[in-house]
């Protein structure tokens, strides 16, 4: 069913197929909808210990295991595992590849279907409709229902994953006992949209992009996608982190040159870019960055963010990181204040870290203690 695009090797992802499909926020209906996912731990008899993990822009469902494409460890192994904050001995953890992603869920890289659900023998590519964060969440809800889980103990995620957490809490409040939006915001800022647009412009400028039909000749816009990743990667780090890692160290170049990397930070970024294109689809990147840009929860609720959560019984844990300038603490605090205005049960901490936005993925003991304590407190309350 999958139309193969070089240079991705074929991987059999664990998937759930929903023949009825779904109507997207943009008005288009796609059918069928496929959700690729992974689970960790065991669902208890009461089906009360399930936690949904929502991944970020370039993450996927391989949270805590060797990645089938890159062979690298899962992206959140610092947090997920036996005895860790997302304790696989206590909770049943689910992570789904987002709608529009490229790790097996319905998205630009998967085979296109017509309105009647008939396969068309070519990938969606740029014909894939605009999706929103809420569309991603509705697709995940199908999976959660499919797995027979009446209520999630928690929904947890950082960055774009945090946006999904907020959308879950607003759209399906009765299904979410606890919500942990981390290093995120209730809307995507103009600055963040601007950085995304630089990345998209780099992809569009690559001659191999061919207006999104690069798959026809089995090629990819590797240069453009790589530059997009390089720009984005800078926003994930802090000035302190870059200084600590690389400073102004040279790569041993004897003379000034414009033809090769002079500074270590340059070759680091280039490496990030070149490895990224081997696992991520350019059209998916365009689709998902757009979904993030559209995200504005207050706008979805008449301009009043608190209205999105009024009357909620969900318990919230909001966390930000002091050196994160992509999703700064001020945006988390605005979210906390809106939750307070909605009389929601909220915890909030800003973790002191010099690691920038990426801190939520890294070894941050204070953050892990707070997240673990919050989840354990929620689990205690429902008897898990």
């Amino acid at each position: 069913m999958t139309a193969q695009i070089a240079p991705f090797p074929q991987v059999d992802h664990q998937r759930a197929l929903f023949a009825e499909g779904m109507r997207l926020d943009c008005g288009v209906t796609i059918a069928p909808v496929v959700v690729a996912y992974r689970t960790y731990g065991r669902l208890n008899a009461a089906r009360s210990n399930a936690i949904l993990i929502c991944h970020a822009l370039t993450g996927d469902q391989y949270v805590a295991e060797r990645h089938p494409l890159t062979g690298r460890p899962g992206w959140w192994e610092s947090v997920v595992g036996p005895g860790k904050p997302l304790d696989t001995d206590r909770y049943f953890l689910i992570c789904a590849n987002v709608l529009g992603g490229c790790m097996g869920s319905t998205g630009p890289r998967e085979e296109m279907t017509d309105p009647a659900g008939r396969p068309l023998g070519r990938p969606w590519g740029t014909d894939f409709p605009n999706v929103t964060i809420r569309d991603m969440v509705k697709a995940q809800k199908k999976l959660v229902d499919h797995l027979g889980i009446p209520r999630l103990l928690a929904v947890v995620g950082g960055s774009m994953g945090g946006m999904q957490v907020l959308e879950w809490a607003a759209t399906f409040p009765e299904t979410v006992f606890a919500a942990a939006p981390i290093a995120t915001a209730a809307y995507h800022s103009a600055q963040n949209i601007a950085f995304h647009e630089v990345g998209r412009a780099a992809i569009h400028a690559d001659p191999e992009w061919k207006r999104g039909r690069y798959w026809e000749e089995g090629r990819i816009p590797a240069q453009g996608l790589s530059v997009a990743r390089m720009v984005a990667h800078i926003t994930y780090l802090s000035e302190q982190a870059l200084t600590r890692k690389f400073g102004r160290r040279l790569r041993g170049a004897a003379a000034l040159t414009f033809l090769e990397d002079v500074f270590e930070v340059e070759s680091y970024l280039r490496h990030q870019g070149s490895t990224f294109v081997r696992r991520f689809d350019a059209n998916s990147y365009l689709t998902i960055t757009r979904a993030m840009d559209y995200f504005d929860m207050a706008a979805e609720h008449g301009g009043d963010l608190a209205a999105a959560f009024r009357g909620t019984a969900t318990r919230f844990f909001v966390a930000s990181f002091s050196s994160d300038w992509l999703f700064p603490t001020s945006e988390s605090r605005a979210l906390v204040r809106a939750l307070n205005a909605a009389a929601a049960n909220v915890s909030f901490v800003e973790i002191a870290s010099d690691k920038g936005h990426d801190a939520f993925l890294l070894e941050e003991p204070e953050f892990h203690r707070a997240l673990g304590g919050f989840l354990a407190g929620a689990a205690d309350r429902v008897g898990v």
Binding site: G311, A313, R315, F317, V318, R333, V336, R337, A338, N340, A341, A342, A343, N345, V346, S347, F348, V349, E350, I351, A352, E366, R369, A370, G372, G373, F374, A376, G377, A378, D380
Partner: protein, 222 residues
């Protein structure tokens, strides 16, 4: 909104209180005794959440906290308590009217930027406010200023004037004055010694103002 409506029974008479919380500051014990079962409580300046944990476990309260110190707030959150890092001056304005039955501010009023506004916010978002503060009218303070002509340094007021966070000290009579000015009903008040034990000055505000090291008030809107 919190799960259960507050039990609106008045607090037990002092003589009937036998429970003594362990590992909790004595003044917090007194405050805990003033709060009925099942109440919705906001503790401003909750520290590591000792009062919140007690109210949650022993009084089935829906207890939430605000703490200015990040390390203490993180510790409270890690203990599973609903605590946000924030402060009295800047965060109260965001809560809706009547969100809580009790809003608690212990030993913090003298350190906020705008005590009158903080008190107004407390009684906007809560039906009752419980406030404790060190009494600047204590005889030691008065004596210190009179005899030495320098800012008092006592066991309660022990930071030098140039580094104390206590920028708005007041006396018990001052506080009565503010309550009268803004029309708050003093439902209960008592003077407390440095360790949080009740001092026997209940009958006379003037004597309490001279001999009470701390004051504890419960207020409501008129």
């Amino acid at each position: 909104m919190p799960d259960s409506p507050a039990d609106l029974r008045p607090p037990l008479p002092r003589s009937e209180i036998r429970y003594v919380a362990k590992n909790m500051r004595l003044d917090l014990r007194l405050i805990a005794e003033m709060i009925p079962r099942g109440a919705r409580v906001l503790d401003i300046g909750c520290g590591d959440g000792a009062l919140l944990a007690h109210l949650t476990a022993e009084k089935a309260a829906d207890a939430r906290g605000i703490e200015i110190d990040m390390a203490a707030a993180t510790q409270a959150v890690a203990a599973g308590l609903a605590v946000i890092q924030g402060d009295a001056d800047h965060d109260l304005a965001f809560y809706p009217d009547g969100a809580f039955d009790y809003v608690v501010l212990s030993r913090t009023l003298q350190a906020v930027e705008k005590p009158r506004e903080v008190l107004r916010q407390m009684l906007r978002i809560g039906r009752h406010a419980i406030v404790s503060f060190p009494n600047f009218g204590h005889w030691m303070v008065r004596w210190h200023l009179l005899a030495k002509g320098r800012m008092p340094m006592t066991s309660t007021w022990h930071r030098a004037w140039y580094e104390t966070p206590n920028i708005h000290p007041c006396t018990i009579r001052d506080f009565f004055g503010l309550c009268a000015l803004d029309g708050y009903v003093v439902e209960e008040w008592l003077a407390v010694d440095e360790h949080g034990l009740k001092a026997p000055w209940r009958r006379s505000p003037r004597l309490a103002n001279l001999f009470g090291e701390q004051a504890l008030f419960q207020l409501r809107r008129r």
